[in-house]
């Protein structure tokens, strides 16, 4: 029995400790927001947060994730109102939308660590996430907008 803490909820699952977290999330727990894109840490569609760090869940074994704090796209905010989610909507970033769970989870770590990212910072942080629809110009734009929203949110508090 493996215990996982996902989006602050505890889950007990019966699974091979070598199973990647991605498949446990999707097939055993039913959190399908985290996507399968390549299975080899190339595309970033499966990015989740493990103790606050962006990891590729397709190559993160359950043995590593057990007992750690995991956040998936479903837990990024309660009401779809993380500054990045608001900015993604405002800029109409997604097209097919499949890669954007991973894009958002990568961007969330960037924005937490670097509240005022430059284009170069964004490129460095987001280069591991592929978007086949080519929404990159809008991803960049939306991250800048989210940084502004985050600042305003901070000031309001």
């Amino acid at each position: 029995m493996i215990t996982l803490t996902i989006n602050q909820q505890p889950y007990q699952i019966e699974a091979d400790p070598d199973m990647p977290l991605l498949w446990a999330l999707r097939d055993l727990i039913g959190l399908t927001g985290t996507k399968y894109g390549c299975g080899v840490a190339q595309c970033g569609a499966c990015v989740v947060h493990l103790n606050g760090e962006a990891v590729r869940s397709c190559v993160t074994k359950l043995s590593r994730a057990a007992g750690q704090k995991i956040v998936t796209i479903e837990g990024l905010s309660k009401n779809n109102d993380h500054p990045l989610q608001l900015a993604w909507n405002e800029v109409s970033v997604p097209q097919c939308g499949y890669c954007h769970s991973g894009q958002l989870m990568s961007a969330a770590v960037l924005l937490r660590e670097n509240p005022n990212p430059t284009d170069q910072d964004i490129d460095n942080a987001m280069a591991g996430n592929i978007c086949r629809c080519g929404t990159y110009p809008r991803i960049r734009k939306a991250i800048h907008l989210a940084a502004e929203l985050q600042k305003k949110e901070g000031e309001a508090k």
Partner: protein, 718 residues
């Protein structure tokens, strides 16, 4: 029996809607080209099946049945935006649901050819306006006032002078008893409140919190997961397999041979069914399969292009289009240009790998998946399994990219056969490696282009292509030229250049090929627009001026005006390379100008891309811009980063580490402009792609004098 009422009952059952409502749809009488609008609650009893579309319930809630796939191109936004405009409702009150595959009900549902809006917008406008007029009529009757004194807005009918109003929900019951008006007056473009506005996409929130359900996210009670090991040489059958190691993988339930249709051929594989995707993937790795691929040529990429290019030197091919006598002119011409271009095989590589859920239940099968062509799937499965069509239920989910790949029937067929074997619902997941190595692919094509010039003017153009014809995999005739041979080439050229021919020199391999975003225009555009650049040089003309001279029709002239104005083409400086290309694709024309320079490290840098789209009447300018931006990124990848190659009959690429994709670090600044006119709507999802590669290579020529005739090329090595 009243057929209409039967249709309506069926419709309501399928749609999950109930209760009294106004339900309008359109259908195409066999005798007429124009759609006819029908009230499903009316009393007419002609023998029709309805294209059901709009449903307004007694709460005023509007439900639209989207008969096309949403794969990123925005049909989920643009279809409601059209309907809300003429129906006079708020967009937030419009609920959109995916229609199931049903050719009789919805007509052609294949989401391809950038056709969703251009093929249906006129009917959608008329349908929505008809519903509005019916609702206004009921209100006017109730108030005993004239129609002219009433108007509709925000889901209500208002009486102008008294200020009285009815909610649509209060009117639908009576409206549903009215006959549909024969003529309705549509709004002028200047009156639009929603159409032509950059409204935010309604599907975005679903795509930012993980709630959008893609094919891979579909779950059913008791559903099993399957992977399939298929012949890596794309053809042939299973000679034998050893499942002993696979069956030892915890979670693996069953291993068996499965056959799926690939267009008109079949392909065998070995399915591994398990209780999780991971177990199925591990089981697949543990399989040992011996293949019999007798009869499959073990093809190599170098041989493909050699064969194509040899044949282009010796064969005339089948004419797709011919005017004047280009051969005679070329023979006598003093100045000619004669060059060959080469374009690669490409994989669609949607971010969501191919997958499908099937639940076979003996007398019927239900399918869910990222599907571009639900009624083709319905046709094919019903034929293969001997089931009546209505026993094959095909549900579309959101698609994590489509680009043409998900318009075919192989993967739903395979999923159905596996579900049948298991007597359980099964999701078949293609690994990224399966997706990359098993096709179908965009065909690699060689082009031979010849031109004659006299006194600085073009006197003849002769184009020949050699590459696989996608139609041959379906029902295409092999005694005719590929119908797409001239795709991408602008029609006004035919008026100004008297001698032109396009021909296909037929070329076959056993590699399955299919539509890839913008289809043949994606490769034709590179050859034809690069060639016009070479012709301009030979004729001593500026490349954009040459296009202006030979594209005499007004829309082309306005497009070129815009391209010149936004790019500063005439003011370009010495160390800047500017390249232009203009292509037509699915009834829209796109012109692009690319600016390049040498960075300090000596490498070519793309400084700017300007794209001008003329798609005629349009719905949402922001979606158009997004589609053009995305098309340019996809074109950049196909021109400079990735290609599918074959060695000994095997595909050499397998995942994103050797079939690399453009990343955020590769993207130049892109500006998109839209031409304003009232012409018939053209496509949006694909036409932005073809002009990019030639505009880029023409810009590189302008800067460096180096002509690139083969894609892909390494931008960092120029």
């Amino acid at each position: 029996m009243n057929t209409n009422q039967v249709s309506r009952r069926d419709f309501l059952r399928v749609s999950g809607l109930a209760g009294t409502a106004l339900c309008l749809g359109f259908y195409f009488p066999s005798s007429a080209k124009e759609a006819e609008i029908i009230n499903t609650t009316g009393t007419a009893s002609s023998e029709i099946e309805l294209n059901a579309w709009i449903h307004i319930d007694t709460n005023g809630k509007v439900t639209i049945f989207n008969h096309r796939a949403e794969m990123g191109q925005g049909s989920f936004q643009s279809v409601p935006q059209i309907i809300a405009e003429e129906l006079e409702v708020d967009l937030k009150d419009v609920n959109i649901v995916f229609a199931q595959g049903n050719r009789e009900k919805y007509g052609n549902q294949v989401t391809g050819g950038s056709s969703t809006i251009r093929s249906s917008y006129k009917n959608l406008l008329k349908l929505s306006a008809t519903a509005r007029v019916m609702l206004i009529s009921v209100a006017a009757q109730k108030w005993a006032v004239s129609l002219a004194d009433c108007y509709a807005a925000s889901g209500h009918v208002f009486h102008k002078t008294s200020g009285n109003k009815f909610h649509y929900g209060e009117l639908v019951v009576d409206a549903s008893k009215l006959a549909t008006p024969k003529e309705v007056i549509l709004k002028k473009t200047s009156e639009y409140k929603l159409i032509r506005k950059p409204l935010l996409r309604q599907d975005t929130p679903l795509k930012t919190n993980g709630t959008a359900i893609f094919g891979l996210d579909k779950k059913l009670p008791g559903m099993l997961y399957a992977t399939v090991e298929r012949n890596p040489r794309l053809r042939g059958v299973v000679k034998s397999f050893d499942a002993s190691a696979a069956l030892k993988v915890p979670g693996v339930i069953k291993v068996f041979k499965v056959r799926m249709g690939v267009f008109k051929t079949f392909r065998e594989g070995v399915a591994v069914v398990a209780n999780s995707t991971w177990a199925a993937m591990q089981g697949k790795k543990a399989l040992k399969v011996a293949w019999d691929d007798t009869g499959f040529e073990h093809i190599n990429t170098a041989d493909i292009y050699k064969r194509q290019q040899d044949s282009l030197q010796t064969q005339e091919g089948l004419f797709a289009k011919k005017q004047g006598e280009p051969d005679a002119i070329l023979k006598q011409a003093e100045k000619t240009v004669d060059v060959v271009y080469q374009t690669p095989y490409q994989s669609h590589s949607c971010m969501e790998p191919v997958n499908c859920v099937a639940h076979y239940q003996g007398d019927k099968v239900e399918i869910w998946g990222p599907i571009q062509a639900p009624e083709w799937v319905q046709d094919y499965i019903s034929e293969q399994l001997g089931l009546a069509k209505e026993k094959v239920i095909v549900n579309m989910t959101f698609l994590g990219g489509g680009f043409g790949r998900k318009a075919f029937m192989d993967y739903p067929h395979e999923a159905t056969m596996i579900s049948k074997e298991m007597s359980a619902p099964v999701q078949v997941v293609w690994t990224r490696e399966d997706d990359a190595t098993q096709g179908p692919y965009r065909p690699g094509i060689s082009y031979r282009c010849q031109g004659a010039i006299k006194d600085g003017e073009i006197t003849a153009l002769k184009f020949r292509m050699a590459g696989q014809n996608n139609d041959h995999w379906r029902a295409g005739k092999t005694d005719q030229a590929n119908r797409s041979t001239a795709e991408g080439f602008l029609k006004p050229y035919y008026d100004s250049i008297k001698n032109i021919s396009f021909a296909e020199v037929q070329f076959e391999t056993p590699i399955p090929t299919m539509w890839w975003r913008s289809v043949y225009a994606s490769t034709n555009g590179f050859a034809y627009e690069s060639f016009l650049d070479e012709i301009a040089l030979a004729a001593g003309k500026d490349p954009l001026a040459l296009r202006r001279q030979y594209l005499q029709e007004e829309r082309s002239q306005l497009l070129i005006d815009k391209m010149e104005a936004v790019s500063g083409w005439k003011q370009r400086k010495k160390n800047e390379g500017f390249g232009v290309a203009i292509t037509e694709c699915f009834a829209s024309t796109v012109g692009q100008i690319v600016k390049v320079s040498r960075a300090e490290n000596g490498k070519i840098k793309i400084d700017q891309v300007w794209a001008v789209m003329d798609c005629g009447w349009y719905v949402n300018p922001d979606i158009i811009k997004a589609q053009v931006e995305g098309s340019i990124v996809m074109a950049l990848g196909a021109a400079t980063i990735h290609e599918i190659t074959f060695k000994d009959g095997l595909v050499e690429q397998s995942n994103f580490y050797n079939y690399k994709m453009p990343r955020i670090t590769d993207i130049p600044p892109i500006e998109v402009y839209i031409m304003e006119n009232e012409a018939n709507a053209g496509g949006v999802g694909e036409p932005g792609l073809p002009a990019f590669a030639p505009a880029l290579t023409n810009a590189i020529f302008d800067l460096t004098g180096k002509r690139i005739r083969k894609l892909p090329f390494d931008l960092s090595a120029v």
